[in-house]
Amino acid sequence: MKSLLPGTELPPSQIEQEFHQLAELWRTETGMHSSISKQVQHPAYRQIIDMGEKALPLILRELRERPAHWFSALRAIAKESPVPEGDRTNFEKTKAAWLRWGKDRGLID
């Protein structure tokens, strides 16, 4: 994995706009589904993963502001998980671990 240096700059505005469009599409089209598989296989979710490390700050902010299952995308891009094994079956603890991870790397405030 490429290094995620503290102070990574925000992505250009068009990347941010594209991310928000994809995230909104994902929220809308997976809204009624309980299936985590359907959520992570949705084309918009896959496109966000394909955006790579530039999407990390955007995903983390989205996770903080509108919590949803962004964990698979984060893990796919970061190629690691900061979540202690015993916390993985608790949404709030999982979210907190990822947000902490993002702060430690300067990806979010």
Binding site: G31, I36, S37, S72, V83, T94
Partner: protein
């Protein structure tokens, strides 16, 4: 979205919340989505020991860890709780709804709000296949927690338990559940492989009949009728070299599946 859901058929009972899903909601959990995700997935839960498959059987087993068993009727039964499992046209599970004490149904609509709806048909797809959650494929029920006091004493006969387990076509039959304890009958035929995985609760086995070796905690010992084995939560263990059909009573504390863990 739901062709048979009219305004007068439902009321919204919660805010939108993506921290849990309908499968968790029906199991009275709101801290994480339940889905047969790959083991170790961040932010997802599936009961230990249940196949991680998107099949109706796996979902029935998942609710089995909460004391639910299949039943024939969606009618209200005093002292019982019921869950309805919906499946898509291809047979994959799509939704779970939980019966309320009034006979209505409580559903979390995917990542959206919880609603109370009058009938199960409210969330089914139309015959033409329009939207909805497919159709109801299985009804499950369990004794309502807290009603155990109504039966302060319960008597079980091994012969009846063995017949029920055999009839259910499963290796393990849970026959008792209260918050602090669950108990079941586990049977393995001579020569069979014990594919069980560690549980998140402490366990005690009492061997009723049969002969085998038991491996766990760094030791391997012969066991037979009268053997009592304690296994700490999370500890790898299994029966090996089963030379005579094995029947064991298994006791979990607290009740199996009530401790959320990925062990």
């Amino acid at each position: 979205m739901f062709p048979d859901l009219r305004k007068e058929d439902y009321r919204v009972t919660s805010e939108e919340d993506r921290k849990y899903n309908c499968i968790a909601h029906a199991a009275d959990r709101s801290d994480v989505p339940w889905w047969p995700v790959e083991e170790g997935t961040d932010g997802g839960f599936w009961p230990a020991g249940v196949p991680r498959e998107e099949t109706l059987d796996a979902f029935v087993l998942a609710y089995g860890t909460q004391g639910y068993v299949p039943c024939d009727s969606a009618d209200v039964e005093p002292g019982c709780e019921k869950i309805a499992l919906y499946v898509n046209a291809d047979g994959t599970p799509s939704h779970a709804a939980k019966q309320t004490s009034s006979g209505a149904w409580s559903s979390k609509l995917g990542n959206w709000e919880d609603i109370e709806h009058k009938t199960l048909a409210n969330l089914e797809a139309s015959p033409g296949g329009a939207a909805g959650y497919g159709k109801v494929a299985r009804i499950l029920k369990r004794r309502r927690p807290g009603t155990i006091e109504m039966e302060a004493v319960k008597l079980f006969e091994m012969g009846e338990l063995e017949a029920e387990r055999s009839g259910a076509g499963r290796l393990y039959l849970e026959f008792l559940r209260c918050p602090a304890l669950s108990a079941g009958l586990y049977e393995l035929a001579a020569g069979a492989e014990d594919a069980q995985r560690p549980h998140a609760e402490d366990e005690v086995y009492y061997i009723v009949r049969g002969r085998a070796s038991f491996k766990g905690g760094g030791q391997e010992r012969s066991v037979g009728p009268g053997s009592v084995i304690f296994v700490k939560a999370g500890e790898e263990h299994r029966f090996l070299d089963i030379t005579e059909d094995l029947a064991a009573l298994v006791f979990f504390a607290p009740a199996e599946g009530t401790t959320q863990s990925t062990v």
